[in-house]
């Protein structure tokens, strides 16, 4: 099952009710790599979280495949995220006391018993493909680059259709960022997943199929990067 994205008339309000992001129309075919750029505070991350169904109060239509995510109840929306999305955050958000394998296989803890072994196995394979072999070590002793690799392995462990990344290279030095971009893009392309990455990092945006700009709370222009 692939999940093309179709957004129509999306409006995300702040707690006082004023719209902080509006998207009239946005379509992303399944399996494409899309960058989201824009000035700080313009609403890039808001767009990412709204697409993940994390903004309560968002209006409009966010359709992933046949599923209108904003119309789902909180529990169903959470379950949809668990099944279809992998998420990567700027500052990794790992459990410091868990090992790399423990963090990468985190989502197995709330999956059905029969699915757990598969998730754990994929988490270990993901870590290996990302060059992390010392998986029993607690991530507290890992470098930033290594941590973000663990986060990528975690995002992919349950074999999601879509990877949502919020500034995945912002906390890394150049070398580590470039290495991560290479590995992440390769993994996503090889598995035919959709990647939507919010970033200021031109090295990352250059590797995307398309780049969407968000300026002053509006998805302003849609640039095709690759044919």
């Amino acid at each position: 099952m692939t999940l093309p994205l179709s957004v129509r008339g999306l409006s995300v309000p702040n707690p006082r009710g004023r719209a902080i992001l509006t998207v009239d129309e946005l379509d992303i075919p399944a399996g494409s790599l899309v960058g989201v750029r824009g000035p700080s505070g313009a609403g890039k991350s808001t767009l990412l979280y709204a697409l993940a169904g994390l903004w309560s109060g968002a209006k409009g239509a966010v359709r992933w495949g046949e599923t209108e995510i904003l119309a789902l109840s909180d529990a169903r929306r959470t379950a949809f995220r668990a099944d279809h999305f992998g998420m990567i955050f700027q500052d990794f958000l790992l459990f410091e006391e868990l090992s790399a394998a423990g963090n990468a296989g985190l989502v197995s803890l709330f999956r059905r018993r029969r699915d757990r072994a598969g998730v754990t196995k994929r988490a270990r394979q993901g870590l290996a493909r990302l060059g992390l072999t010392d998986t029993p070590r607690a991530v507290a002793s890992f470098s930033g680059g290594e941590r973000q690799r663990v986060a990528v392995a975690r995002a992919l462990a349950h074999d999601p259709h879509v990877l949502l990344a919020d500034e995945p290279t912002a906390s890394l030095h150049r070398e580590a960022a470039d290495a991560l971009i290479d590995d992440m893009v390769k993994l996503v392309r090889d598995s035919g997943k959709t990647l939507i990455a919010v970033s200021h990092d031109l090295a990352l945006l250059d590797r995307m199929d398309r780049v969407v700009s968000v300026i002053d709370g509006r998805v302003d222009c849609d640039v095709e990067v690759r044919a």
Binding site: D74, T78, F85, F89, F95, E97, L98, L109, F110, R116
Partner: protein, 438 residues
Amino acid sequence: MIRDGWDGLPVLTQELIICGALLLPLVVIAALLTRGYAPFRLTRAILRRFLWANVMFVLLIAVSVGMGIGLIAQERGLRQGMAHAADKFDMVVSAPGSELTMMLAAVFLQPSNVGLLDGYAYNEIAEHENVEIAAPIAFGDSFGDAPVIGTTAEFVTYLTDGALEGRLWEATDEAVAGAAVGLAVGDSFTPSHGIGDSAEEHGHDGVGFRVVGQMPRTGTPWDRAILIPVEAVWEVHGLANGHAPEAGDRIGPPFDAKFFPGTPAVIVRASALWANYALRNEFTRDSEMMAFFPGSVLANLYRIMGDVRQAMSLMSIVTQILVAASVLLGLFILTRLFQRQVAMLRALGAPRRFVMAVVWLYGATLLTVGTLLGVAFGFAAAAALSRIVTQRTDILVTASLGWSEVHLALAFLSATCVLALIPALALLRQPIVANLRS
């Protein structure tokens, strides 16, 4: 019918059922929250992350639970110790007066000025067909902290169940010392007239006693007493010695009423249990003498003190409620420490019930460890207090963990674990996106 069925159960079964019922909410919550998930690894990670905060929190719970439990255990220990001290004293006959004063004097060796029973009264008691032992008790002298008590050899045998190191006295200058007196067989001493601060140190100069026997430890104030023949007490005070001159050096009953100077109390042991009530009625006569059961006097005392105990229990419960409120507040603060992780879990698609399970297990673990540690603290505190009380009063107080303490601890644990759902729920109400960005 349910009542009959319940009453028919063995005590242990009843107690275990109560424990099970108290733990039921905890088990039900744990089962409902964790069913189908594996939250324990994450809970362990959170516990390790805030290790010192968690240790402090556990100690706080342990101290408060320990105080509640220690108080109850100590109170019961003291009550049992006093009852044990009165075990050997089925009935006391004395001149009319306060039963409590007389009991404190005769059983707990806290002498007061009391009236005396004469020889005729004593002989009537001693010769009664249902009386097995009638021991006169004469007090008023001391050696150091140890009261010197005049009585009969028969009573010493009864008090020690025959287990005596050395032998009983055979002359009026021989004595048997309690286990805690500090006098060994072969030591000599001169008693002072009076007891405590008012004792006249040289009141009985020239009078010497030699210790020929030592009683084993009984866990009663009698451990600190020195027992001498009652005749010796009378003689030391220049009185007749209870026997006619022609009786020679006789020690012990029977006594001649005409030469019997009087005794403040007679400890009576009936030949059969059933005879006790009849004897009490027989020996209770207006303005002549009174008979009472020290056990009943103690029971009355506890009944009066029962109100105090209830007040103490209430205070203990109020304290526990306050502690539970603090625990709740503490959990609110602690759970705030990992609200970003919770937001991340939610963003990754963790169901609310899973997140609840992780956070609640965290709180429940702290509460469980704190409560268990608190039970140990309480037991240790009660044991330390018991040693102090035993040292000061010679009433053997033993701290033991009873079912009421277990129930209190389990009730506290169960109630606080239910309350621990509130911080977990509150954490789930936090906006995910705002916490991801914080």
